[in-house]
Amino acid sequence: MSDVIRKNAWVAGLVALLAVLLVVTKLIQPTFGVSGLESIARAALPFAFATAGMAVVVIVGGIDLSVASMMAVCAVAAAVLMERMAGVPALLIVLALGLVMGFLNGALIVLTRVPDIVVTLAMLFVWEGVALLILETPGGAASDWLEQSIRGSFLVPGIPNALVVTIICVAVVWLPIRRSKLGLSIYATGSDELAAFRSGVAIGPTKILAYSLCGVLCAFGGLSLAALTGIGEPVPGPYLLASVAAVVLGGVVLGGGRGSLLGPLIAVYILRIIRTILTLLAFDPNVTTIIEGVIMVGVVMLGTAAMMRGAQQ
């Protein structure tokens, strides 16, 4: 047991921090309960998917600056399609759309050999334009069942449906790959591209696959936006920087090769609950973002120091 904790020290630390923050929230606002948990889980949805997608490409050694734009494309596509056709086919089309966008991002990076950050920066604008082409102003309508799927609790009050949806969607996309040879290839490529190549890993296809996975997760993110608002908004939300922040806080090394998806996902909830706490405390909104940033860098610094001391012992 202690061995498991030591191996996952960072994740364990994040879980402890999340638990502490939940207790703090309860202390500040004694009425905080099931509905509060549900609303935090709902607010975390788009951040969670953007973060999961970002984590996959960071692990492979890249970065995707177009996550928020891809989410916008998927959100408007979902809202437009669901207004005109049955929900399930529309949902599948949106997921395929995310896959195609991610595939294009990855293929461009591998084929042109232009750095990831440049290609995805360019694609940020391309996907933003595509979203506006699909829907010039906010509109469309998400299916009722999609909106209902993220409300309420699952079986027992206190386990929000939104949380269950997040876990299932990320697990379905990531776990089969993580446990296969492809998963190993993704970590190997991110860890040391040359060594991976010499060990027989197909670097190009592995990268393209990682970006495609990111696209699919962004499609889930777009769907969650449509589910939250009931409409599609063509202008990307603040998910790019937030996802990078959660990936770092979640213990994924920005150079690639190390980290999991679990840490970043817990980090998403930590960042959302910090905002809830700051709202409950009626902090000056201009100071709120400063506090969020300071807490983040503080936690990463403390965590790194603790890890290093642990390694020395």
Binding site: A12, A16, V20, S35, T276, P285, V299
Partner: protein
């Protein structure tokens, strides 16, 4: 690991100490404020008007301001957090009329008063208080059409296609147009409410050499005057909003005949006043309340005097100069400039 926990505990202690400010709020309302555009002069005036009005309302003990740049999903998060904070009323500038209904309905189910300012929401039972945009356009357009003698060619510079304020203004403009059959719209563009874009569009149209007699703008106004002055074109009557820059031009630019129609960001303050009225059981009969605009022209002595009086060097140049809404707001000019709410928030 130990350190991590230690840090987290320190954070917990630090944050829980902040709750003390809650405790001294006695017999009074807590009002939550939600806004999704930060750094825009009109919106900043709106937030300051909300704070100042909350300060002078005797019944408001505390306000919680969620004011950041975000999308509808982010505003939903803020609204749900305000509900969790146990506010008595929520005054919001909605990012979208349809996207926020789930949170607004949850709020109203808990007897939280919801007032949308500046733009409407479709959630049933929510109060809407906004500037009367149709009347805004009608007033300015009618004045302009009279200025050019009831007949002539007009350049019509709109805002953003599909945004409700633009659609309402278009209806008002068309209403005035119907009253003047000899007025012709020679050119219609969308400025996107962007200063640089509007200015370029005016440069482009001046370059075509097509004659026209007047310009109606949807609030992108001072740069239109700049375009005339910089390209050396003779000035024609121009209608704009009461933005500080344009109002200053009305008094300073030689040969400019123009009018400013008020579109105060201080409707935010009026929204707080309305929320308090409703909490005190004095709800208006209709859930939609419109604030009527006023027109200030620089051609008459009375109009000129109003414009001179409205100017204040202490005012942020990006703010609308009409800082109060008569009949609604009770704060002073100093209080809105100080931008402080109850309890120093």
């Amino acid at each position: 690991m130990k350190k991590l926990l230690l840090g987290a505990t320190a954070l917990a202690v630090a944050t829980s100490m902040g709750t003390v400010s809650f405790a001294d709020a006695h017999k009074s309302y807590t009002i939550g404020i939600s806004n999704t555009v930060q750094g825009n002069g009109w919106r900043e005036q709106m937030i300051c008007a909300m704070r100042a009005q909350a300060l002078v309302e005797g019944d408001v003990g505390n306000i919680i301001v969620a004011h950041r740049n975000t999308d509808s999903a982010g505003q939903l998060e803020d609204l749900n957090n305000l509900i969790e904070a146990g506010v008595d009323a929520i005054v919001l500038n909605p990012s979208n009329p349809d996207a926020l209904n789930s949170a607004l309905e949850a709020a109203m189910a808990q007897d939280i008063v919801v007032v949308a300012v500046d733009a409407g929401v479709t959630a049933e039972g929510a109060y809407i208080l906004s500037n009367n945009q149709e009347e805004y356009a009608y007033l300015g357009a009618r004045w302009l059409f009279e200025q050019v003698g009831g007949s002539g060619d007009i350049v019509y510079m709109r805002g953003i296609a599909g945004v409700s304020a633009d659609t309402d203004r278009d209806n008002g403009f068309k209403r005035a147009l119907a009253e003047f059959p000899d007025i012709n719209v020679v050119h219609e563009v969308f400025t996107g409410w962007q200063q640089d874009q509007g200015k370029q569009q005016m440069f482009d149209f001046l370059a075509t050499g097509i004659p026209f007699d007047g310009v109606w703008t949807s609030g992108i106004d001072n740069v239109i005057v700049d375009a005339f002055v910089e390209s050396g074109a003779p000035l024609v009557p121009i209608v704009g909003a009461d933005n500080a820059g344009f109002v200053q031009y009305l008094t300073e630019v030689n040969g400019l005949v123009g009018a400013a129609v008020t579109n105060p960001g201080s409707v935010g303050g009026a929204g707080i006043a309305l929320a308090v009225d409703i909490l005190n059981g004095e709800a208006p009969a209709n859930t939609t309340v419109l604030v009527d605009p006023v027109l200030w022209e620089n051609g008459t002595d009375a109009g000129r005097a109003t414009i001179m009086a409205a100017q204040n060097p202490n005012l942020d140049p990006e703010w609308p100069v009409s800082v109060t809404v008569p009949g609604w707001t009770d704060y002073t000019m100093e209080q809105i400039i100080a931008c402080e709410g109850p309890g120093g928030s």
